[in-house]
Subunit: 295 residues, 2 copies
């Protein structure tokens, strides 16, 4: 059956039928989602992101994987902030010619990804469109005041670490990644993380962003970048969509961090790729892209 | 200049430059927006909605008005819930061929609408697309536990009221409406509102939704519907995009409500259009659309 034969009310109702609702007070069917508020003293964390057909996924991509990616992208930003995601709202812009089974699979992927992190999907909107499919996911959650991390806050001399391996994400990982929320929460529970972000546009673009936000420069040992099997250094720098964590931490914590990490996450590499240094190193205004800093 | 010559980082940065930030702790440029949480005892309210080119607006529509509409649509759902909106995140999906001045005007409309209700725009994402423009706005805010209203809660015998005038919105109002947040907040501060919603799809579709959510039927005096100048009864029932409030309240409150309303909102009509009645009246499963109930 095509979407246009079904109608939005019935679609949203059927898609949201099987959702958990432990904290939801009123939801879809109502005009807004109403949920329990964040515990006093914690901060409210908000993020929205979208995926668009032919930009972030191919038209022939398995819709379960599209749904997974659409949900996991904003959740990766929660990892960057060391925040706990709780509630998601979905805006689905889809042509009436798509089949209902395609949309059902998409929601299966969205739900599967949400439940991986105990996120409740508490609302949804759908709209027709004459163009490509786009799925926007907006997530709210919280972070304890003392555990919030941002891109700013790095100190000169800090070690720079990345989780996992970089490069070649488009071959497989970009549709199947698991945001580093567990790792990020463990890091801020056990260490003073000065600055952190997730790598979505590639180290060559993202690392300069973290350095700029911290008003510092950086130096990297290119040959130490942890590479995905089959990827080259250029891929690790430029491909993007790694969804790994990049963070800055005092070198005094180095030994304790590396030992504790290996014990806690034995399968996931943690690699020291370089360090933050004084701002003067990147003062040259002609350096437009982060890429040139790596040469 | 075309968007594709500018790049997303610079675009988002320039668009968010002039934003207020009274409660924002960290924002765009960072991965998530982090804000002060809702006061203890209040409920967190979440809503996302979108407008799509050639569905919700014409390609030639003034982008300031498009931005206004994109922001006001989810805010109208806050009115329905009697909630206070606080923070908005914007996802802009736009082809690289659009001019930067078009996007700047769009944001001017978004900001103008947000500031009308003291809403802070705390984050934004943009994505390229091979198709039409779509703008998704996701809003968070709060409502006091005792003032929350939903579509459920209507009681048999309740009066049904609508604010303003219905029908003919596409001629002008759908791009310029002001959500009834002030009116809604006044209502729940001074009266026990049993059920409420905003009229977005037309009374013929929306009223049956409120009745169903309250597990009741309804009866309407069609000739009493408040009509926009030039609109007919069919328009009031079927056009949609009225963004007026529909609510249910005990008839014991009728006199006090009507008197106080005329004093508080002398320019805005408040019309009793009918009442809720026992469920049996709409048990016939063949009645698919609300429209038939009006005959």
């Amino acid at each position: 059956m095509k979407l246009r034969q079904l109608g939005e009310d019935r679609l949203v109702k059927s898609l949201l039928r099987a959702l958990p609702s432990n904290q939801l007070i009123s939801s879809t069917g109502d005009d807004c989602a109403v949920v329990k508020s964040v515990a006093p003293g914690n901060l409210l964390v908000l993020k929205t992101d979208c995926v668009v057909e032919r930009i972030h996924f191919q038209s022939a991509t398995d819709p379960i994987l599209i749904g997974w990616k659409a949900m996991m992208r904003p959740l990766s930003d929660f990892a960057a902030t060391s925040a706990i995601p709780q509630f998601a709202l979905i805006t689905l812009v889809v042509p009436g010619t798509k089949s209902t089974s395609w949309v059902e699979k998409l929601y299966r992927g969205l739900r599967r990804a949400a439940s991986r992190f105990d996120v409740d999907i508490v609302g949804g909107e759908t709209s027709a469109t004459p163009g490509p499919v786009s799925i926007s996911v907006s997530v709210s959650g919280f972070v304890e005041r003392k555990r919030r991390v941002s891109r700013a806050g790095g100190k000169s001399g800090d070690d720079l670490f990345v989780t996992g391996r970089l490069g070649g994400s488009l071959r497989r990982k970009h549709l199947r990644f698991v945001p580093r929320i567990e790792e990020s929460r463990w890091l801020t529970q056990n260490f003073q993380i000065h600055a952190m972000m997730d790598l979505s546009d590639g180290l060559g673009i993202d690392l300069p962003r973290l350095a700029r936000a911290s008003r510092l420069g950086f130096e990297i040992k290119i040959e130490q970048l942890p590479l995905t099997a089959g990827a080259k250094i250029e891929n690790a720098i430029s491909d993007g969509e790694d969804y790994e964590l990049l963070f800055a931490i005092s070198p005094r914590e180095r030994d304790r961090l590396q030992k504790a990490w290996r014990k806690k996450f034995p399968k996931l590499p943690l690699t020291r790729i370089g360090r933050l240094n004084p701002q003067s190193a990147i003062r040259n205004p002609k350096l437009k892209s982060g890429y040139v800093h790596f040469q």
